[in-house]
């Protein structure tokens, strides 16, 4: 009883939680796949679990679905413990990576499968299946069989089959992984509009950072079985907690450095190559001197210009001269590689506002503010 009281207190934040994971562990044959996961997924949000392959994200999803029992800890759905609750009794439905449609049934029967098991009255069943197929624009394919459908169409049927049951949570396991790029973009848009219209909680597993950033309300980034950070897409991108996230999400310049003296918000750091940088330590980082850190500078935060006498007086904490080594023209923007006198290579992205181009071999000047170079724990 005392436990439930505590949980009430936690839920005081006014948002209902659909999925909670409490210190969840999963060990397979002596190998830990998931370690000590704590997770709150709010009602109605689009939540993504992002990470490289083998990070334990699919195992986490399968523990919510009930296909795997946690070795330790507990999973709750709408405040109810899911310990020893088999998948067929959980109020969740999954869209599988490979769709897992029943090949011996028509599209209609696939979508009706869940409702028939619940002895749904015939008229209601017909209405709900029809609506679900309409929702995913597959109503004209009801009599077809899965083998007669393209990948994108199978994906829609898999979505309808999950949504028709009106689950508390829809689990999506790499839902767009098998589709080609154009179809993927199209389905991304449809997923967001479905989520917005239905207001159901979506939990998606993906290794595609762009997909996670563009679709999710919040993202949990996982690495080797642990959650490294949970936050909104912009928090994850702008304020990564670890060097792994800074490196995994988007592009970045990562450098080893040692913290020196601080000056208000910013701290001076020195790299092994002797480069002195003004950095902003990440919130949880103790800014004690002589501490080893990793510095992350996003390439698009760095400005680049020709090193002329007039441009010397840039009012930025970090301002360096170097030589332009490579320039890769990409239409809307250009990627530059700049070599500093210290030997460090810095990548810079710049949108092509004017048609004038910097040429490789030119002396250039690069600069960025101290708050754009994040010092992260090693």
């Amino acid at each position: 009883m005392s436990q439930t009281v505590i949980r009430r207190d936690v839920a005081e934040t006014d948002t209902m939680l659909d999925v909670e994971m409490r210190k969840v562990f999963k060990v397979y044959n002596g190998e830990t796949a998931v370690r000590n996961i704590d997770l709150d997924i709010r009602q109605g949000e689009f939540f993504s679990i992002l990470g490289p392959s083998g990070c334990g994200k699919t195992t986490t999803l399968r523990m919510i679905a009930g296909f795997e029992e946690p070795t330790g800890g507990e999973v709750l759905i709408r405040g109810q413990s899911m310990a020893n609750v088999p998948p067929y009794k959980r109020p969740v439905n999954t869209v599988f990576q490979s769709y897992a449609l029943f090949g011996h049934m028509s599209v209609w029967d696939n979508v009706a499968f869940g409702l028939r098991l619940k002895d749904c009255p015939k008229s209601e069943l017909q209405q709900r299946v029809g609506e679900a197929l309409q929702l995913v624009k597959m109503d004209s394919f009801a009599r077809r069989f899965p083998a007669q459908l393209s990948g994108g169409q199978q994906q829609r049927v898999a979505l309808a089959r999950a949504l028709v049951n009106r689950p508390t949570v829809v689990l999506l396991d790499e839902p767009l992984g098998a589709l080609d790029l154009k179809l993927r973009k199209e389905m991304q848009l449809e997923l967001t509009s479905l989520h917005r219209d239905l207001g159901v909680t979506f939990v998606m597993v993906t290794h595609d950072q762009e997909e996670a950033l563009s679709l999710s309300d919040r993202i949990a980034v996982m690495n080797i079985g642990k959650i490294e950070q949970i936050g909104t897409p912009s928090e994850i991108y702008e304020q990564p907690c670890t060097a792994f996230i800074a490196d995994f999400i988007g592009d970045t310049n990562l450098m080893q450095a040692e913290l020196q003296t601080s000056q208000g918000e910013t701290v001076e750091a020195i790299t092994p190559s002797g480069l002195r940088l003004w950095v902003k330590p990440q919130a949880s980082l103790q800014a004690d001197p002589a501490r080893e850190v990793r510095v992350s500078i996003r390439p698009e935060k760095i400005r680049i210009g020709e090193a002329t006498a007039a441009s010397q007086s840039v009012d930025q904490a970090n301002c360096y001269e170097g030589t332009l080594k490579h320039a890769m023209y990409l239409g809307t923007h250009t990627h530059y590689q700049v070599e500093l006198p210290s030997g460090d290579m810095i990548t810079v992205f710049q949108t092509n506002r004017s048609s004038e181009q910097l040429q490789p071999g030119m002396p250039v000047q690069i600069y960025w503010s101290a708050s754009d170079s994040l010092a992260l724990p090693v």
């Binding site: 998948p87 067929y88 439905n93 029943f102 098991l117």
Partner: protein, 298 residues
């Protein structure tokens, strides 16, 4: 750097050679087996067909006038009963093999630890290493009135069973002989069942039993058809087991044919017509097998 591009096209074949070339290769490759089949299958079958159309044909008789007399004679209750009994034994054995074989194949394919699977399958095939005649004799020693079965039943105070030389012995013997084939075919079919479909069914609210009936069985239906038809085909013409275990009251079609050709009656015409009926039944089963059976499992 302008070099003459090499002509990669094949040299043209004179038009009169083309059909010849197209036909020559298959002819050469298929000729040995084709001749073999022609000589030992097609020709004898045609011979039987001719004999079946000569009423009362027997050894030494001159080929008499053709007619359907032999086929009409088959409708006599004596013969119909034998045909019906053969069908009954074959269908019964198929059903027994299915009912016994499916749980075994299911367990080996889906539940048993994977490193034991091959060993378990070998264990099931092991009886096939001995002659089927030997296995039938073994069943005689088990089923006879003073045999192993009855002494065990007696030990537990149960009444003895007089199964030998009656239908139960035929079912036991035939099911024992064909169960391994059934298990192998069902295993091959169940083994490639997509487990994710079972997860999807569970996810949509199906209990394990519901998943079994709504997903596993329909998904393995081609395997069930293949196993069932294969056992049916083999048991329709079975000779040794009913002969040894069934006794006089269990005459089957194959025994009837034997009697007409080599037994006392020596009515080759009638024997041929029964043979044609058996060939027809087996052909229909094979056609069904090819249409509905799981090709990969066979």
């Amino acid at each position: 750097m302008t070099t003459i591009s090499p002509n990669l096209a094949e040299p043209p074949v004179p038009s009169w050679q083309r059909p010849f070339k197209k036909l020559l290769q298959p002819t050469i490759l298929l000729a040995p087996a084709g001749l073999w089949l022609l000589l030992l299958l097609v020709f004898p079958t045609l011979l039987i067909l001719e004999l079946s159309l000569i009423p009362g044909a027997r050894l030494g008789n001159p080929p008499g006038p053709y007619g359907l007399g032999n086929y009409i004679e088959l409708f006599k209750p004596v013969y119909l009963q034998v045909i019906w009994r053969s069908l009954y034994f074959a269908l019964g054995t198929t059903i027994v093999c299915l009912l016994l074989g499916f749980p075994v194949a299911y367990w080996i394919a889906l539940k048993a630890p994977s490193r034991w699977r091959n060993l378990l399958l070998v264990g099931f095939i092991l009886p096939l290493w001995t002659s089927s005649l030997l296995r039938a004799y073994a069943w005689i020693t088990i089923l006879r009135s003073s045999g192993l079965l009855n002494s065990m039943l007696g030990f537990f105070g149960l009444p003895g069973q007089d199964w030998l030389n009656r239908a139960p012995a035929v079912f036991i013997g035939m099911s024992y002989s064909y169960l391994p084939y059934m298990v192998l075919i069902l295993y091959a079919s169940l083994e490639k069942l997509d487990r994710r479909l079972l997860e999807a069914a569970a996810d949509l609210g199906a209990t394990p039993q519901q998943s079994f009936w709504r997903v596993t069985v329909p998904q393995t239906l081609p395997g069930i058809a293949a196993g069932g038809l294969l056992v049916l085909i083999a048991t329709l013409g079975e000779f040794a087991v009913p002969e040894l275990l069934g006794g006089a009251s269990s005459m089957t079609v194959s025994r009837l044919i034997y009697n007409q050709f080599l037994g006392a009656t020596r009515n080759w015409g009638l024997g041929s017509s029964i043979s044609m009926i058996l060939i027809l039944g087996v052909s229909i089963s094979i056609a069904l097998l090819l249409k509905y059976g799981d090709r990969d499992a066979i």
